[in-house]
């Protein structure tokens, strides 16, 4: 059997991803929170319920209940761990940088200082069908955070193509 496809897979399923998948950080729904959102990947049915608690301009907690594949679960865990404790503005910048990575079709070099464990998702960007999995929780977080800030952005936004 050829090994080529296996190698491809390994670039998707990095050890870090599988670890987060098996042991997700910050899982569960907690109080207090200002906004709770429910996002769905309509294509495959993956779902997430997410709460965001802001405190003095800082993301004080992100808690969630998620159903989905390894990529979407691990991404959620990584995201929560990255943004909790960060000022909203900085967290939004991290979000932006993750989005750029995911939409880069594998051409964007991730910045480990910003994304930390998130750089493990660089390989996902080469699998267009999985990009939405990786982004589900990030989109939910952005939505919930914006709502927490008092802006309402009720219509879930779809990931931009191309």
């Amino acid at each position: 059997m050829t090994n080529a496809p296996g190698q491809d897979l390994d670039s998707l399923y990095q050890e870090i991803i599988l670890d987060h998948y098996k042991n997700p950080l910050h899982a569960g729904l907690r109080d207090p929170f200002e906004a709770e959102v429910h996002h769905v990947n309509p294509t495959c049915g993956d779902e997430i319920t997410m709460r965001v608690h802001l405190d003095g301009g800082v993301v004080s907690d992100v808690s969630y209940d998620a159903l989905g594949c390894s990529i979407s679960q691990a991404s959620c865990s990584v995201m929560a761990d990255l943004v909790i404790g960060k000022p909203v503005e900085e967290a939004m910048a991290i979000h932006e940088s993750f989005l750029t990575l995911m939409q880069g079709k594998g051409q964007v070099e991730p910045d480990e200082d910003v994304l930390e464990d998130g750089i493990a998702f660089a390989g996902v960007a080469k699998f267009p069908a999985r990009v939405k999995c990786a982004l589900l929780s990030w989109m939910a977080w952005k939505d919930a955070t914006t709502q927490s800030q008092g802006h309402s952005e009720s219509q879930p936004q779809e990931a931009q193509h191309g």
Binding site: A4, D8, C44, G45, L67, G68, C69, R130
Partner: protein, 423 residues
């Protein structure tokens, strides 16, 4: 050697150019996603090319030679489709853009019907828990908008319709019963004749979603007993080796003639004045605008192709492959098939779960081995919910599927388990 396979399967496969393709890493394509869309034989592609390169023109409206050729090609596609399903009359065959539009056409028109066909408070529409979203949402919209009630058949643990409640569900209040002939998720073949008879006894309209049955089993409407013959069936071109962009609605002529128009414009009219319009007889009444001409022509070639193979032979092939696949899947530890386990009771779509691996991840690993399956809810979320899962992996065979491809699937599933380090 497995019994029932299509004779000369290797030659049949040569008709499908895509099956010769290789994927990343030089792997051969193992296409097991035919319930999602089927591959196209060369003759369908060539027929479309010939039409575009030599006969392209708008139909009906055009008086010139190209127009006559194009109209002839389009209308003879209607004849071919009518023959394919044994339609009692050719003008009962309406071309839509896909099965979804065909189903919506009926539900949406009923929303504007008056008299006997009107749907309102107190009236009920009956569907089932195993429907494709395209046979759920149109009826939700209709009943919500008109204040009627949506009801549904539940499912047994084996993935059959739970007919034990039929007396409560089909009553004098039932205006429409709409259900799938073959489930695209569970594979289940439903008892069309029995349900149709019961529905007709109370005067309900019966709509059958034939999207998964038309590709796999002979359909002969004219041969059905009138009481047991659905009033409407819908199917889609791209699943019967035809192109995308075309679907079929067959409906009993006098029912269709009673339905208010759906889309207005173009060729669906008899006469138009600013103050009001009158409408053409079927089929044109429901074919507003320029229809999918080259798509109809391609569909004509597709059903001809299936007709030459023989739908009986295709059904036998599907049955043989499905039985073989069920056996193979049973050898994979932790794998659970959703739906009937007897190949005789089902079509060629087999959805399953594997303990400890999410369907996306299964599909991904399979894809890395060249095996193309579908993962997700397959547009059947309620059926997944019924079985307590959010998604599943689905393999679906078709007339070009070989036992060796099933072997490749089973082997790739074993590999998936080892990749994710499952016992």
């Amino acid at each position: 050697m497995i019994e029932g396979l299509l004779p000369q399967l290797d030659i049949v496969r040569k008709d499908f150019p895509i099956l010769e393709r290789t994927l990343a890493g030089g792997l051969p394509l193992v296409y097991l996603d035919s319930a999602n869309t089927s591959q196209k034989p060369q003759v369908v592609i060539d027929t479309m090319v010939d039409h575009l390169e030599r006969h392209n023109a708008n139909i009906s409206r055009a008086m010139h030679q190209l127009g006559a050729e194009s109209t002839e090609a389009f209308e003879s596609a209607r004849d071919k489709v009518a023959a394919f399903i044994g339609a009692p009359r050719r003008d009962e065959v309406i071309f839509t853009k896909n099965a979804s539009e065909a189903l919506n056409l009926v539900a949406n028109s009923l929303a504007w019907a008056t008299g006997d066909l009107a749907v309102g408070p107190g009236d009920e529409v009956l569907i089932t828990e195993m429907e494709h979203h395209s046979n759920i949402v149109p009826w939700q919209l209709l009943t919500e908008r008109k204040g009627a009630t949506l009801r549904w058949f539940g499912l047994t643990d084996e993935g059959h319709l739970d007919l034990s409640t039929i007396d409560e569900l089909i009553t004098e209040r039932t205006k429409v019963v709409s259900f799938t002939w073959v489930s695209n998720m569970l594979g289940t073949i439903n008892p069309v004749a029995e349900i149709t008879r019961r529905a007709h006894e109370v005067g309900a309209i019966v709509v059958v979603d034939a999207s998964q049955s038309a590709p796999q089993m002979p359909t002969d409407l004219a041969a059905m007993e009138p009481m047991e013959r659905p009033d409407v069936i819908a199917f889609t071109g791209h699943k019967v080796v035809g192109p995308t962009g075309i679907g079929v609605l067959w409906g009993r002529g006098d029912l269709l003639a009673q339905l208010p128009p759906f889309l207005g414009g173009g060729e669906m009219i008899e006469t138009v004045r600013m103050e009001g319009s009158t409408y053409a007889p079927i089929p044109h009444r429901f074919e507003a605008g320029t229809p999918p001409i080259v798509e109809a022509v391609g569909l004509g070639a597709a059903v001809d192709y299936l007709g030459e193979l023989g739908l009986g032979a295709v059904r036998d092939h599907e049955h043989a492959i499905t039985a073989y696949a069920l056996d193979g899947l049973a050898t994979v530890p932790g794998l659970r098939v959703l739906g009937p386990l007897d190949a005789a009771e089902r079509g060629g779509a087999i959805s399953f779960e594997v303990d400890g691996v999410h369907p996306h991840d299964i599909a991904q690993v399979l894809d890395a081995r060249g095996v193309a399956v579908r993962a997700g809810h397959h547009c059947a979320k309620p059926a997944h919910a019924r079985f307590g899962v959010q998604s599943s992996t689905r393999m679906s065979s078709y007339l070009y599927t070989t036992p060796a491809e099933i072997d490749a699937l089973v082997e790739a599933l074993e590999y998936t388990r080892s990749y994710f380090k499952l016992g």
